[in-house]
Symmetry: C2
Subunit: 166 residues, 2 copies
DNA sequence: GCGGATTCGTTGAACATTCAAGGATGGGGT
DNA sequence: ACCCCATCCTTGAATGTTCAACGAATCCGC
């Protein structure tokens, strides 16, 4: 698969600057939001994202695997995360009626409240760090670019991996 | 500081899509590179970045605080990281001659070798995931955007925080 | 020089993530 | 019915990160 011994195309100066800027910006932003949420909602950013997903789901509940897929994390990570959120009383589990293997993660009222209280601060933080600093053009561009990157790394989202295409 | 009770400007549809794309893309890419490097270089992406910094530094060494600043991580995190890299024999520590509090992190020959061997695969991974998928325009745009974000989150890089500006 | 504030780097505990393994159920073919 | 394999989710151990606290050395104003 990976050709060895072949000298790769190194990054040129401009590419290096771009890559560095990417790494710095993403790292700083993630840290920033983690701290903001740890302070205001007592949980890291990823956990907050899980609650948001649940809040938007039909009956404020979601199958574990589906939640993991939406949040782009492994099922293992989700299991641990939900365990902790459950300890805090923000989420509870329930057996899935139709599939005895399945579990539903359910947002509790307490969880919803935490979300309600911390959402404004969080949106503000995101605006201040990101949207307020970018022009309309740049926002549009950012969206397109990020969608392209995500698509390229998606482990075969719906429609791909059809047997007759191999 | 944070105004309470004030309804924030929520994200509109387009902004939400952009933000989501950002979160997904950055998460997927970081995971992807972490796995790639864990496989090929036996270390996570951040640790690899530390070795790169050291390799580019004057005598392949750097003061801990400076290294932390360049890598955008806390000194604590760096301390732990260097401890581990030291165990692997890729880095060693040395007292700083001019400041008895200081430590230099030094890239060993073994460390340099690991870097040499894994760099090609890493660059290829970055290209495949990012640069190969973006037009020149988009690359330029991405660089600009990321620099803006990073600047906004920099905890007062040189020149700011001047007393007479408070 | 003195003394207080600051910087340097580390430490340990709590928390988070990854990885490999495993138990249980479901689905499909025969 | 049966078997085999896939999927669902969890678990524990190893690893990585955060946070608060700390000792040592340096800096700065007097």
């Amino acid at each position: 698969m990976t050709t060895h011994n072949e000298e790769p195309r190194w990054l040129n100066d401009e590419e290096q600057r771009t890559w560095r800027a990417y790494l710095h910006a993403t790292m700083l932003l993630e840290d920033h939001l983690d701290r903001q949420l740890q302070r205001d909602a007592k949980m890291p950013h990823v956990y907050y994202g899980l609650l948001v997903q649940l809040a938007q789901a039909p009956r404020r509940r979601m199958r574990m695997t589906e939640l993991a897929r939406h949040a782009k994390i492994t099922r293992s990570r989700l299991s641990h995360a939900i365990a902790r959120l459950e300890k805090h009383g923000w989420v509870r589990r329930e057996d899935c009626p139709s599939d005895k293997r399945g579990q539903n993660a359910i947002l509790t009222d307490e969880g919803y409240e935490v979300l309600e209280q911390s959402a404004p601060g969080h949106v503000t933080a995101v605006r201040q760090a990101l949207f307020d600093r970018l022009s309309q053009e740049q926002q549009k561009s950012l969206g397109e670019i990020m969608r392209i990157i995500a698509e390229g790394l998606q482990p075969n989202e719906a429609g791909a991996d059809l047997p007759w295409l191999r």
